[in-house]
Subunit: 146 residues, 4 copies
């Protein structure tokens, strides 16, 4: 469901159909559903850079919880539309990762903007930890060359 | 499920049980679920000030969509905990409403903070509209006396 | 949110408000949401009989997954209604538990019926296990005397 | 995300990734999530036969609510698996439609079975209505030739 042809360097793009299940009595996306959709896009991005959560979370016991997410809802999305999520890496810290997201409608209009900060965390101690070197490299590899 | 005894002026408090359905494979609240819980608290607050969505949305055709929500996740919440949502009104504009929320754990520790901006909108034109006078008064009544 | 006064022997009753988040573009409950609501009622029932999932699942490592659920949707539920869930135990097997549920609207009309079969399962072996004696007694105690 | 090559006559197949958001503290799919996934597959099937809900629900004011769904959970699905939904039409009545579904794991093992009965309903009168002839033909066309 995601494609990466014809997109700018350092951007991950995923398309999502706005389903009946995402919509509220006004026929538009109920805003909490956007966060579930966004989380799925982030999940796909980690797989795209070769570090799927099935490996990092389940095997390496490293979580990447969201510590901050600032969200601007610009315009509503409607049932039946296919929208485009655009993800880019804005900053990589010692144990943090800043992602910038946009959702764009089929008309090219901006729907939602997110600024998300995730933190590498040990699932055993529940404390922040530095990004393991292979993961840091995978993130930088995406940022620079994808 | 909400109580308003022994709480500061201008604050609405609602308790919520962290259910199995809210939790992820790490046994803590999956962050998108917080927004659904928050929306339910806001829904209860509108009813508390005498302007339930069943009246404003369904009968008066006025929506109150969220235009901006900035969220800080301070500490995780666990399955089986009863957490406390605290809502206060930080600003009322011509057609906007700024709410400040906190979620506090049973240990008194802060879990999540939200800064939310809602906008009064006509469900017919989908454009912002000024708060109707009775609703403005209900909001101010809460802000000052509750 | 649940009350147990004035209800028949062997019945657990829980009220739920139909929230904005439960409703679809037709303004009625989106049917998958009923299963999440039902699961919360079952969660409350286990706590009511003194065997909360926080104890059985988290500490004793016993799950109670649903093996079968047959559901009849009789009439829709609407945004803003308070509906009543009625749970009763229809059969207790060696490692199974049959629950019968009804959801009733504020008008007394039946909305949904469920026949649910749960199975006691070890979370370590993922195999069925007999009900521990204290849990069996708690279920029978509810069935006969509550 | 769905493919229809190499599948039996009269069967619609859709693959779905089991995401983090679908899983519970035991790391397996939380059963209510299956119904949301199933509803999305049914939504895709209606589009596949040329009668998308965006047309039938939004324009023609015809709903297809589920009146009955009997569900057997055979084996759990785990985070990260890609499962296969198989849909077939078992019966078409005057205003009813019986669908049989299976979810199959990557190992070929059966995970869930559903028997679903949907009913054509006028969204204006909320009463059952006969299938419009073009929709009846689209369903039969799928049943016999797809």
């Amino acid at each position: 469901m995601h494609t990466n042809s014809d997109i700018p360097t350092g951007q991950f793009v995923a398309e999502r159909l706005i389903r009946f299940s995402h919509c509220d009595p006004a026929g538009i996306v109920f805003f909490p559903r956007y966060f579930e959709l966004l989380n799925g896009v982030v999940e796909d991005w980690w797989a795209h850079i070769g570090k799927p959560w099935t490996e990092t979370v389940s095997e390496r016991r490293m979580g990447t919880p969201t510590a901050q997410i600032d969200t601007t809802f610009v315009a509503p999305s409607h049932f039946g539309e296919t929208v485009r999520f655009e993800l880019s890496v804005s900053h990589v810290g010692n144990s943090s990762l800043h992602l910038t997201h946009r959702i764009v409608g089929p008309d090219g209009g901006e729907r939602v903007r997110f600024e998300q900060r995730m933190v590498a965390t040990s699932l055993d101690t529940h404390r922040p930890m530095p990004w393991p070197e292979d993961i840091r490299q995978a993130i930088h590899g995406f940022k620079e060359k994808s």
